[in-house]
Amino acid sequence: MAKTKMSVAGAALLAAGVIAGPAAAELVFPDLSYRTGPYAANGIPFSDGYQDYLTLLNERDGGIGGEMIEVIECETGYNTEKGVECYEATKGEGALIYQPLSTGITYQLIPKATADGIPMHTMGYGRTSAKNGEVFRWVFNYPANYWDGASHAINHILDVNDGDISGKTIALVYHNSAYGKEPIRTLEELAEKHGYELLLLPVDHPGQEQKSQWLQIRRAKPDNVIMWGWGVMNQVAIQEAVNIRYPMENFIGIWWSGSENDVLPAGDGADGYKALTFHNLGMDYPVYDDLKEYVVDVGMAAGAGDQLGTALYNRGMYAAMLAAEAARTAQEIHGTAQITPAMMRDGMEALEMTEEKMAGLGLPNFGPTFNVSCSNHGGDGLGAVAQWDAEAGSWSLITDYGASDGSVLDPLITADSMAYAEENGITPGCE
């Protein structure tokens, strides 16, 4: 009795407070961000970059193809329950695409978004086997995925060691979640191929406590350490590595462990730390002039506006740029400016990123060129290695974009996606 009164009162209050749900006459891009909690240090720059680029399109070009863009931000705190709430709250607003920036939330949303017919873009995260677009019709993870990343890291170690790493020990320090566990399968396969020994060191959420893992590294003295970290875990790991005087040039992070926020707390000790990336770094691009003119100087920058040019800001901007280009492609395909999520999906599947296109957008040579197709939702999986220069306070690419080991990855992707198709009764195919 008592409860029911309460819940009715709560429901009435809620109804009063709930979003009015305007009929969207715009292109709606929800931004499932996290500006609070242990992952905020990484969530803020990404979200700022994502929103600023879309604000730029609105201010400079009047949106995409004449349609204004509406960004609905929703705070997830990197928490799946809040992520679901955000998804449900925004999907009724006509959301065209979801980019949750969280592997956990991605796993949560893949079936929901597929059932609701809204495309997802999980750029460099999420479920790797979503590369197989014949099974994951609504999920895209171009231009690179985790297994590519694992392969890039091993390739780089191979390059440094003149192609022979048999008998060496490689440790993987990973976030003990779906995200951190993603590369294990690939690294094990590659260990068989190249003959190295893999040492697995899980770090539990949120990752502030890593003394025992680094003690193990100190004892086992692995030749290389690869890290799959996020949020506060990155900073702690790099600081711990400095504390045990682990040679930084042998320490490679995935692209999510390679932002300024991660290395700065360790000061000079972090000099030489390496991280992968699938796009270029720095702010030496014409688009930044426009961002200054149309967004920052007029006070429309998202957040505090102090993240411009950081690695994750660039990545957020890249994600927004790819989404905007996919929307543009969709508008061209369907001949209408007001696209639906289904049209957006077609646009993503027909996306072609060429050098001219990127140069035209003010981002020359910013990322690799790639084409998306129905059978390949993951692009070409190119990646490069960046190294931190503590004195200059900047990242610099030390390798070219290289390909991942397709001979190992492709069978894994096929096997995993087919297993998913079988579990969920999906008939693979392009219609």
Binding site: A2, M6, T36, V84, Q108, S177, H205, G303
Partner: protein, 358 residues
């Protein structure tokens, strides 16, 4: 006005001892049940179901379960998250191993398995009490989460370590999986909540509940008058874990659809459910529901008001939410240490006398 009791006479022992002795409460309960079962399902949409109704219903079941152990039997437990995980993983293993069996049976079986695990971790309660027992159940929390992370058999050797619920139907309607309709999932969880509330209420009014309360109020005295502490404590652990297991099972299968043990069933979950029953009222079934409503609905409400209506930045709203919820919890507990249920009881007493308080 609301509580007119004139002419409401009790003429039998049964009538005098019913759960809701006041007619107004009985009528109100029926009205609410009719609304919840017969009207809400026609209007509920995905947002209301997934963001508001399901979490409230599921946490309410968990809070009822924990309230039996902490509120009625006085055994402090911090293992709720771990026991919910047992329910979730049991459901997952059962769903994938016996796809032809109904999901209702799986949920109940998962509750049963959790009850077994609960009894196992309840054994130390026979020797230790209070804070020491809390620490022992904390060990259960960490051990269970570690176990489900560590042993691949529990997650069917999937690469990500996640478990995800395949689609299952009841009477031809999908209950789990992405194609489940909002009203189906809502009704499914609501029926389990009604089941849990009715069973818990009746258990606590009978011999079993009285022996629990005896143990809670003074275990030595209870033992002297003939309450067997072994069966009383372990039955409290079993019944409590049964409901918590059902809550974990629904949390995974119906609400989220895919979970990761460390994130979904971490120590935070244990604290959250414990806060629910403390705020709602220890030893009150209605308190469990009020506490769950308070801690589930308030953050969503605040978010919608601050971000949706006022248009404030999301990070500011998220931080304010922590502060407001925290301040309200402290205020409530200072003003009424026995929780929302007691507030409601006091309000009811006043209403019954109104407008002549003396």
């Amino acid at each position: 006005m609301l509580y007119r009791e004139a002419g409401d006479f009790k003429t039998s022992y049964q009538a005098d001892n019913q759960t809701f002795p006041i007619r107004f409460d009985r009528v109100g309960l029926r009205v609410v049940l009719v609304l919840a079962l017969g009207v809400v399902p026609f209007f509920i949409n995905d947002y209301w179901a997934n963001a508001v109704a399901l979490p409230f219903l599921i946490y309410a079941i968990a809070a009822i379960g924990l309230n039996i152990l902490v509120g009625f039997c006085g055994q402090v437990s911090l293992g709720t998250g771990g026991f919910m995980a047992v329910g979730a993983y049991a459901t997952y293993k059962l769903m994938t191993a016996f796809p032809e069996v109904s999901i209702i049976i799986h949920v109940l079986l998962a509750g049963g398995i959790t009850a077994g695990v609960g009894v196992l971790f309840g054994l130390p309660s026979l020797r230790i009490k209070g804070f020491y027992l809390a620490v022992a159940t904390l060990a259960a929390q960490f051990f269970l989460v570690w176990l489900f992370n560590r042993v691949p058999w529990f997650y069917n050797y999937s690469a990500s370590g996640q478990i995800s619920a395949p689609e299952r139907e009841v009477l031809g309607y999908a209950v789990t999986g992405p194609n489940a309709e909002a009203w189906v999932t809502y009704l499914f969880c609501l029926l389990f909540l009604i089941f849990a509330a009715v069973v818990a209420r009746n258990l606590t009014r009978g011999t079993m509940g009285r022996s629990w309360m005896g143990i809670r109020d003074m275990d030595i005295a209870a033992e002297i008058i003939g309450v067997n502490p072994l069966s009383a404590k372990l039955s409290a652990f079993a019944v409590s874990s049964f409901f918590i297991g059902i809550a974990g099972s629904l949390f995974f299968a119906v609400y989220l659809g895919a979970v990761e043990v460390g994130e979904a069933f971490g120590i935070n979950k244990s604290f959250l459910v414990l806060f629910m029953i403390i705020i709602g009222g220890l030893g009150r079934i209605g308190g469990s529901l009020m506490g769950a409503a308070f801690l589930v609905l308030l953050p969503v409400l605040l978010k919608n008001v601050l971000v949706g209506s006022l248009g404030w930045p999301t990070d500011l709203a998220a931080h304010l939410e922590f502060m407001i919820v925290g301040a309200l919890i402290v205020t409530f507990l200072v003003a009424e240490p026995h929780g929302l249920a007691q507030l409601w009881r006091v309000a009811k007493e006043k209403l019954r006398l109104w407008p002549f308080p003396h």
